[in-house]
Symmetry: C2
Subunit: 222 residues, 2 copies
DNA sequence: AGGGTTTTGTTTAATAATTAACAATTAAAT
DNA sequence: ATTTAATTGTTAATTATTAAACAAAACCCT
């Protein structure tokens, strides 16, 4: 097998960094909401840091990077930061999402009530099984060959893949072809996508295996 | 509010690193299996790298770190590496897992057939809803107050939390108290645990929001 | 009003992770 | 057998991330 020998560059690197940072910001928001509900209206970097398990400097740096400003001696005004984060995440808009596969995972997602609080909505599902189409679902469910039409009509850019591994790449291709730009993938494969499409994998098995490794490792060194 | 001013140290840091590395190893395994099924019996760092989106040097470094050895000029023998990874992950043992919460997510997990191929098994579920106990499930389901007994009797160290946010911390405490050392958490909160308990969060909403941010950011800079 | 104290925000330093480089090796070709 | 080409594994360099340090700001208390 012949390989390229030219210098390897990593187009996804910078994107991974941004994604990691924004994920921390999303965690801060969760925590800010918690403290707001507890009746606080201000918070310090130290408190936030402790809560999500990073250093206070990290919090200040993250906030600084996204231009989230605090007050010297008085910390961060929770509402102010929340507003800024919501703006950053375009939370003023409702974000439409489509879902491929209404099996075990797909059904759980359809039932989930947490999306709407965060201004996200599953607008359509797709499944090859005719039984899934008839079912009185919370969302309209179509056969897969209507996916392109629905994506275009509804102008959806985010899709969830919850179909069997064997058809996941094919569904992914259809999604991308029709204009989907971000994919949350539950299937245990690495999807191939163009560089401008972002994929986030969720693998319950992988996470469990990593957990198991960690616990066994700790047991050994004890 | 008065804060500690002593130097901040980060006990979880080293663990995060190990977890990240082992997660990459788990991904390599997924990829190795794929190529094995395609009929290959050897593979190069370059191929693996391309497949999971890292540099070939990273693959070699990771393998080296876990003492997974290849052959100069001939790459890595897939079966050999797979065997070593499985040994590393203690795949010779069946790993028992308990599940708290048999709602939408919990039911999906119970139905999932992918665990057993990877030598993991849900051995018991816990739910406060009596209706969930009666249901003819694939696994026995108990009320939460039997959790400690079952965990001890079955010697389980891994637990999944799929209960509502409001009770997640309480269930977590019960698990830890009874001997659980690794927790996969679906509830949208940061669980508080002793330092020797590893927590892995899965947050569909967070991941979706990060995806949305990425796609909108890309749209802007286009 | 003003000093003391606390906390941010940023710069600088330290640490960690990734990539590059290359020597060692060996499979395959001749 | 010998040579060639290719790929690993490790060391060195680079880059990225995280933490420490500290100056500037501003709250609070007297
Ligand atoms: N259930 C879990 O807890 C779990 C855990 C980890 C990973 N996963 C992964 O998530 C994915 C879905 O898992 P699941 O348990 O929900 O599976 P499932 O078999 O219950 O559901 C899959 C659904 O996809 C539909 N489908 C099949 N081919 C299709 C196609 N070409 N187009 C559209 N729909 C199609 C099926 O009709 C079915 O409804 C799988 O890849 C699985 O490996 C599931
Ligand atoms: N469903 C999803 O797609 C989804 C997505 C993201 C996050 N989550 C999170 O996952 C968790 C579970 O979600 P869900 O949709 O399955 O919720 P659900 O309400 O369908 O299920 C929760 C289950 O927990 C049980 N329960 C409640 N209190 C309990 C207790 N004290 N002990 C044991 N069991 C108890 C309930 O009886 C119910 O069966 C929630 O924290 C939710 O925010 C779910």
């Amino acid at each position: 097998m012949q390989h390229k020998t030219e210098t390897y560059t990593h187009p996804q690197k910078n994107r991974e960094m941004i994604k990691k940072n924004i994920q921390r910001i999303i965690q801060y928001r969760m925590c800010l909401l918690k403290f707001q509900n507890l009746g606080f209206d201000r918070i310090f970097s130290y408190t936030l840091a402790q809560e999500i398990g990073v250093s206070p400097e990290q919090v200040r740096k993250d906030f600084s990077q996204f231009n989230l400003r605090g007050n010297k001696k008085a910390g961060y005004k929770i509402q102010e930061i929340l507003d800024s984060i919501n703006e950053l995440l375009h939370k003023e808009d409702l974000h439409k999402i489509i879902l491929a596969g209404l099996g075990n995972i797909g059904k759980a997602l359809v039932q989930y009530k947490g999306f709407i609080n965060r201004n996200m909505q599953l607008v359509a599902g797709f499944d090859i099984d005719p039984a899934k189409l008839k079912k009185n679902c919370r969302i309209p469910v179509f056969p897969p060959d209507e996916m392109a039409r629905v994506i275009r009509e509804e102008k959806v850019v985010i899709g969830i893949i919850a179909v069997p591994e064997q058809v996941a790449q094919e569904i992914c291709n259809q999604m991308v072809e029709a204009g989907i730009r971000g994919i949350l993938n539950f299937a245990p494969i690495m999807l191939k996508t163009p560089p401008d499409v972002t994929v986030q994998n969720i693998s319950v098995c992988n996470e469990l295996e990593a957990l198991i490794y960690m616990t066994e490792k700790q047991e050994e060194t004890k």
